[in-house]
Amino acid sequence: MEKLQKYIIGANASIFQKIDPDSNVKVFVPENEEEIKAAIAFARENNLPITSKGGGSGMSGACTGASRKKVIISSMRMKKVLEINFDEGYAVVEAGITPDELNAEIQQRKPNWKFFVAPSSRDIATVGGILSTDGGGNDAWLAGTMADNVLEVELFDYHGNKIIVTKIDNDNKKAKITCSSKELQEKLQKNNFSIIDIAGAHGTLGYISKLKLLIKPLSEYNNQRFALAYAGNLNALGKIIYELIEANIPLTYGEAIVEAHHPEISRKTNPPMLILEFPLDFQEKVQTICKSIPDVNFNSVNKEEFEQKKEIRIKMAKRNPPEGYQLALFEGYGIAGDNLLRFEEIITKINQTLESCGFEPFIKFGHAPSVYHHGDKKVKGIIMHSREKRPEKLTSKMVFEGIVALVELCEKEGIIPKPEHKWPFSKTTQKHKRLTELTTILGKNFNPFILDSTLKELAELVL
């Protein structure tokens, strides 16, 4: 079964599926620290880079290591909950556990407690993978992204050194480093190595084995109300998001359906629209905001109707068009600030760019309002996901040109990337520079393709 295992380990949710199966030299699925060290030692002895893989739900294809020879270390057997401390509000877990699995364990002991990072892929995405992409979900607006919810990370470097990064003063950029190599410890400390570096690093800094995560009671968010805000046009949708951000409404759920070229989804949700959950005390304020915007129709709904809309929304990422199939060409458009006030223009330009490259827009949706980290800044806006209709004759050239055109458009229009999806491959970002700096200390042995591949190389992997 070893050959089959090496072939199948390339399975992942991105468009990069055509991974040369023989490039996976060996696959390890460790269950404990010794096995992790043995896997790393094998790579070192054979002079091979390492790609870490969690649930394989990432949209950038970073868990594949591209078609270069490498060793894959999966975290899918690292699922233990090592400690849950309700008094101090944390859980210590292995990197391969999913938010759903963790919350099931937490709620078995205290039903009203939760780990608050809920990407739509929470049934498969692992906490190690979520930190590596700085993922977030519909509750990121209040709870933040993964970086905000991690108190400590344990990772291994290429030499088998264990590095523990402990957050200080609740600041993602401040950490105490403990390492089995004192020299490395000093270097990392001096270079202000912190949780924010590991967040969104796409596995370039080492193999994450353990995390200490923030957990909180649900009771903070009691007595909720639910509403659907229908916008007559895209600018009205952008304006609602803008105003909700300005008013700092503590929304416990906020999701936008921007457009859906799918009769069933469209009939059931009537986009553009927002699905909202907020505390009773803020009902009047949310209502006033929505009613003050021309072309917005505010509807209070009961929990049942809210849940139905949530269900449609969470499935959207995976839906296919009624005829043909979907494709996620480019993901994680961060639209914030004044750009929300010209939302229609932005969406039109994205769609025009897609169409000019041979892609038909299918659906757009996203967490809104939401928060994400961009370099040193925390940005508030919508993180918009997009699916296109898969062209019948898809070529790597089309994908390459499409992504390049979209990156250029985003740079020109100030669409801020959430460093999650196709963006790790953009060499102009601050994140890219920082990771290059850190890998000169830690070594360029984990997922090096993230920092040195060309889009052309990646486009060849599209299936």
Binding site: M1, K3, L4, Q5, Y7, I8, I9, G10, A11, N12, A13, Q17, K18, D20, P21, D22, V29, G55, G56, S57, S74, M76, R77, T98, E101, S121, D123, I124, K315, A317, K318, R319, N320, Y325, Q326, A328, R390, L463
Partner: protein, 374 residues
């Protein structure tokens, strides 16, 4: 490309490889190997399409093993928002695998030669259990089909219940209830051929259809208005593949009894954990009738995760050890040994799977007879 290969290729395109089907798959949970996961099995086909030159018979044989390492519980289909019909793909792949590697499984020979999964003389089908029931049903032989006999209702017993002694008590219970209801029913005896479901599961559709043609011809001769069975696999095969006259109703026994029984004289007031047989609720859509019947009997139902017992998809034949591992995981997850609550179900295969793993389990019919004081 053959039409089948083209069809598979189209079905495959629906899968966005999101991974939502991995952690709910009983096989993945037991093996923790991605090649055994539903997504992994589809990825193999995608990859083979992309790099045909890298795939040889040896690899195909390994893949064939993973394709048969599946309980066909359908949970992956249920969870898939992309509407990928995984079990349809798996059935086609099983068919291809058996053609490519005919010696992969021996069960097919049993069914083809003897018309039952055990390879036993088919005339023994009813004899093996009716002998034990003469005390309760002295005239049982009159209920067995012979040329010219007609009846309102056919009770299609199925291979498992016919040949495995554990089910005699369930059969006794079902027959007692049929007698209590005054039903005009008939059993097919040696004229009942395997419903073909096991052959479908191993990719032998043509052979399965031959058995079904025979069964359907007997159904027509009897002229029954209703056909009932306790086996969800038989039910699926009867509903989907026997081409039975649409005026004839095909029901699971729990549906039949739930329709006929409004109340019972002796409400049991017991608490039991209900195991939903995968084929019954996912493939046949029967979820409410067993629950409604249990409520009428006075069973307080404790729901369990709708997960497979490990007995489906012929897994007990292809990999018994793994089937048991799935059950062991379920025992831990549902605290079946820690808590003092028995399991109730309505599928002979699931029942055996639980009992073989030392979990006290009964069929709903066994409680129904008690509640009816029979």
């Amino acid at each position: 490309m053959t039409p089948q290969a083209e069809e598979i290729s189209e079905l495959l395109k629906k899968c966005v490889q999101c991974g939502s089907c991995i952690l709910i798959c009983p096989i993945y949970r037991a093996t923790k190997e991605e090649q055994f996961s539903p997504r992994g099995k589809l990825y193999y086909l995608k990859l083979k399409d992309a790099f045909p030159e890298k795939f040889d018979a040896e690899l195909d044989k390994e893949y064939a093993k993973t394709i048969f390492t599946c309980t066909m519980c359908g949970r992956c289909v249920e969870i898939c928002s992309s509407e990928t019909q995984l079990t349809e793909i798996f059935k086609e792949e099983r068919k291809e695998s058996v053609e490519q590697f005919p010696k992969l499984l021996t069960i097919a020979e049993n069914v083809e030669e003897e018309k039952n999964v055990y390879g036993l003389d088919n005339e023994m089908r009813t004899e093996s259990w009716t002998m034990e029931l003469y005390d309760d049903f002295p005239d049982i032989d009159d209920r067995i089909y012979e040329e010219g006999k007609t009846a309102e209702t056919i009770f299609f017993v199925g291979c498992l219940m016919s040949y495995r002694s554990r089910h005699t008590n369930v059969l006794r219970a079902i027959l007692k209830v049929l007698e209590y209801l005054g039903e005009d029913y008939i059993l097919l005896g040696g004229e009942e051929f395997c419903c073909g479901h096991p052959l479908d599961l191993i990719g032998k559709t043509n052979e399965a259809n031959k058995l079904r043609e025979h069964n359907t011809s007997i159904f027509t001769k009897i002229g029954a208005k209703t056909i009932i069975t306790d086996c969800p696999g038989c039910l699926e095969a009867l509903l989907e593949h026997h081409h039975i006259d649409p005026s004839v109703r095909v029901l699971h026994v729990t549906e039949f009894f739930d329709e006929k029984i409004d109340s019972v004289p002796n409400k049991l007031d017991i608490t039991l954990k209900y195991h939903d047989p995968c084929e019954l609720f996912r493939n046949d859509g029967v979820t409410e009738a067993p629950r409604s019947l249990m409520r009428k009997i006075g069973i307080n139902i404790v729901e369990m995760e709708p997960s497979c017992c490990g007995g489906g998809g012929m897994l007990r034949v292809t990999d018994e050890k793994l089937a048991n591992k799935i059950m062991e995981d379920r025992i831990i997850k549902e605290k079946l040994k820690e808590e003092d609550t028995c399991v109730v179900t309505c599928c002979p295969s699931c029942l055996e799977q639980f009992e073989q793993n030392e979990i006290t389990t009964s069929d709903i019919a066994e409680y129904l007879v008690k509640a009816l004081n029979l």
